[in-house]
Structures are given as C-alpha cells and as structure tokens.
C-alpha cells in the first residue's frame, strides 16, 4: 500500500474515532473509594459535595488516567497531595476530591 493511500485510510479512521463520542454515556464511573466497599443505596447516596468532587475528579484526574480499582483510605491524603502538585489542582479542588474519596 502506498504512503498516500495509507495515510488517507489513517485519517479516515481518525475521523471515525472522533465521531464516536456522540454516543451518550449510560454509566458513571465509580471512584476507588466507592468501588472498594459495599454501600447501602440510600445512606451513601452522593451528597452535593460528593457531586462536586465527582465533577472535579472527572474533569481533572480522569483526563490522564482511570481511577484505580481500590486502595486503602490511609493513603488518600498522599495520593491527593501528589495529584495536587502534578496536576496543579487548586486548594479547593484538593479538598473536594479528598471529601469525595473519604466521604
């Protein structure tokens, strides 16, 4: 296959990939803290602060990586502070994500 046709095919594939996000989401990603333990449905229903944390997590953290499957709450502070520096999070965002991971 010549280079010209190869790249035409590659660009077409890229355009196809870019059209995929029009499919709307049907599920919301769970955070590590949520997936690591069983939760009664009503008692742990996300509060407004949880929603803010979810919004920030989706907007800031999930840009680079998916959430790990689960981890000890003892290292939440270390993880969030590491991400505050690496991702240049604001102090407000850091607190919201901490609350979100340790409700």
């Amino acid at each position: 296959m010549s280079q010209k046709y190869f790249f035409a095919a590659a660009v077409a594939l890229g355009a196809l990939l870019m059209s995929l996000p029009k499919m709307q989401s049907q599920a919301t990603q769970q955070t590590p803290a949520q997936t690591s333990k069983k939760q009664p449905s009503d008692k742990h229903r996300p509060q407004p602060s949880d929603n803010e944390g979810q919004r920030i997590f989706d907007g800031q953290c999930a840009r680079c990586h998916t959430a790990p499957d689960g981890f000890s709450p003892r290292i939440t502070n270390a993880i969030v502070r590491h991400m505050r520096v690496r991702a240049n999070l604001s102090a407000t965002d850091e607190k919201a994500i901490l609350r979100f991971m340790n409700p």
Binding site: R63, P73, R74, I75, S90
Partner: protein, 349 residues
C-alpha cells in the same frame, strides 16, 4: 532507553538512605491519614521492529510521602531489563535509576515550591503520560524528546500551582530553573522554562503553551503547545501536541475511546479501548541535537488496549512508519499491572 542511567553503588546507598530518612521523618510527623503511598507499574513489553523482537520486563515504583500539612516528598524509579537479538542470539542490558526525586512545599493555595530533581513540565507527555501504567502506547511520541533537554529532568527549583480556579475555567502554571548537573543519577542541563494551561471545564478543553531554553553550549529555544479535548460524559479522549526546536519540529495527535453503550465501561465490551495516533516530524536542518529522526518521518499507530479488572491492562499496537531512509512496521504487545498500597499498615481513623 536514554532516560535511565545505571546506578553505582555509592549513589544507590545514598539514595536509599535518603528515602529511609524521609520515611522515618514521615512517621514522626504524620497523622494516620499521612501514610506514604507506594504506587507504580509492573510491565512486560515486547516490540517487533523490522523482524527483530525485543522483550522488556520493567518495574516503575513511585513513592509519595506527605509530611505534615504542606510537604510532600515524591520519587519515581525505573528498573528494567532489555533482551534484544544480536548475531549470537539474544543480548540483554540492565537499567536502574531514579526518574525523579523532589520535595514539594505547598506555600499557598496558588503556589507550590518544588526542589530537587523534577520532570520538566514541557508539553504534556513527560509529566502526565510517561508512567508505564498511564500511557496508552508503549512508545512515546517521536517528538517526546523535543524540549526535554536530553534528560527530561531538571535539578533545581520550580514554582507551580493553580493561578485561577473557577467553576467554568482554570489556569495553571509551572516555571522552573535547572542547574547543570553531571551527576550520574541526576543528570541535567542548565536551563529554564515554563508552561501555562487554560482548562475550560464545561467543554473539557485544555490548551497550553510551553517554552524552555538551554543555557549551556549552543543555547537553543524550544516551543510547544498542546490541546486536549475530552467531551463530557464520554470515554473519548483527544490529545495532541506540537513542539518546535531549533533543528526540528513535529506533532502528534492521539485519540482513544471506550464505549459505554453495552453495559458501561466495566462490561467486557466497554473494557476494549481502540486507539489511533498520528505523528510527523520535520527536520529544519541537518544538525542533530534533539533526538528526533534524522529525516522527515511520518508514523501512524493503531492500537487496541484491553482494561482488565484489578488495574491490569493489555496493550497492543501496530505502527507503520514512513521516511526517506526506510519504511518499517512496528508491532508491540504488553501487559501492565498498576499497584497502589500504603508503605506501612498505620492506623485507621
């Protein structure tokens, strides 16, 4: 891999001693929630280029140790063995070294002071995508070395943080100065630079500019820009970078997608992640100093990753690279496991 240098026993001892001291200081200052985290990735990677297959087992551990309310010590290392074919069969080489070791002091809501050996914040790849447990492709982009001043790390200081953070947008920055260091473990060039990014929360669009300048030998400027777009409520990501140096320039665009239409991201279908990356490099002259290919090169990467449960990913890709010197096919496969656990047991609050 050029970014890894071998440890001599002297520096290995000093480094381990320093890490132990940091761990001890973390014990004495830390509350129960300040237990250091050990994270990282273990991988087994294969790459077949022009019929030759190399095998690379690799581990990249990362330590993040908070001390008190304002300090964080963090470091990442890489230990790997590369088995590659030669005329007599297979040869193997060993690399072990610290990728970075830095101390962070959170001075105010808008300012963090970083000291030590740090990853250069030029573009996005070096800081965000280079960990083996994050990158979608085994290989970094062809232009990854542009602006990274040979080593990808600086030894000196950096100021960074969130300049403005609003509900609809945020602006962050990083500016740094590095001294020249010939130390085997912490090698760096005398240089300075910075990066600023604007992130629009509603449209999930990020645009950033990077600049740095080498201040030793032939002084050169490097410019970069990046655009990331991740539409809300989708698992689609479009990332791109352009970088320009004194002797070469280039770009890459990467798209990846996970469907949520068949039971969500954790269904067996949703765990598939098709990828595509397009990249080109262009030489501006024939002076070679930046690690880019010696001739203009085009490359298309087609990947298919599978995200297994328990933080494990299977990476596969096929790349076709075109240049005036030769055209090559590159096949890559790998499996990566991400680990994340406390450094010690500690107490629960």
């Amino acid at each position: 891999m050029s970014r890894f240098s071998s440890l001599n026993s002297y520096w290995k001892g000093r480094t381990l001693g320093l890490l132990a001291a940091l761990a001890v200081s973390s014990i004495s200052f830390a509350g129960a929630q300040n237990v250091p985290a050990i994270s990282g990735g273990v991988a087994f990677l294969t790459s077949t280029n022009g019929g030759n297959t190399t095998y690379t087992p690799l581990i990249e551990p990362l330590l993040a140790a908070p001390i008190g309310k304002h300090i964080l010590i963090e470091s990442r290392a890489a230990i790997l063995e590369t088995f590659s074919p030669d005329s007599t069969g297979y040869n193997h080489t060993h690399f072990a070294g610290l990728t970075y070791l830095q101390g962070d002091y959170i001075a105010s809501p808008h300012l963090t002071i970083v000291g030590g050996s740090f990853l250069l914040p030029f573009g996005t790849y070096n800081e965000r995508l280079s960990p083996v447990w994050i990158g979608n492709f085994q290989d970094g982009p062809l232009i990854a070395s542009l602006g990274l001043l040979s080593t990808g790390t600086g030894v000196g200081g950096m100021l960074r943080g969130s300049a403005i953070s609003r509900r609809k947008y945020s602006i962050d920055y990083a500016t740094w100065f590095s001294a020249r260091s010939g130390n085997e473990q912490f090698n760096s060039e005398r240089s300075f630079g910075g990066r600023a990014s604007l992130y629009l929360q509603d449209s999930r669009l990020e645009v950033g500019l990077s600049y740095d300048r080498s201040l030793q030998g032939t002084q050169e400027n490097f410019y970069g820009t990046h655009v990331w777009w991740e539409p809300k409520d989708t698992a689609f990501r479009l990332r791109s970078e352009f970088a320009r140096g004194h002797h070469a320039q280039g770009y890459w665009i990467e798209a990846d997608y996970r469907t949520q239409a068949f039971g969500g991201l954790n269904s067996w279908v949703g765990r598939f992640e098709p990828l595509f990356r397009m990249q080109q490099t262009f030489r501006r002259d024939t002076i070679i100093s930046d690690g880019l290919p010696l001739v203009n090169t085009q490359r298309a990467d087609f990947g298919l990753d599978y995200n297994l449960p328990h933080n494990t990913r299977i990476l596969t890709s096929y790349s076709r690279q075109f240049s005036s010197s030769n055209n090559t096919n590159i096949w890559e496969t790998g499996i990566v496991y991400r680990f994340l656990f406390p450094a010690w047991k500690g107490k629960s609050q």
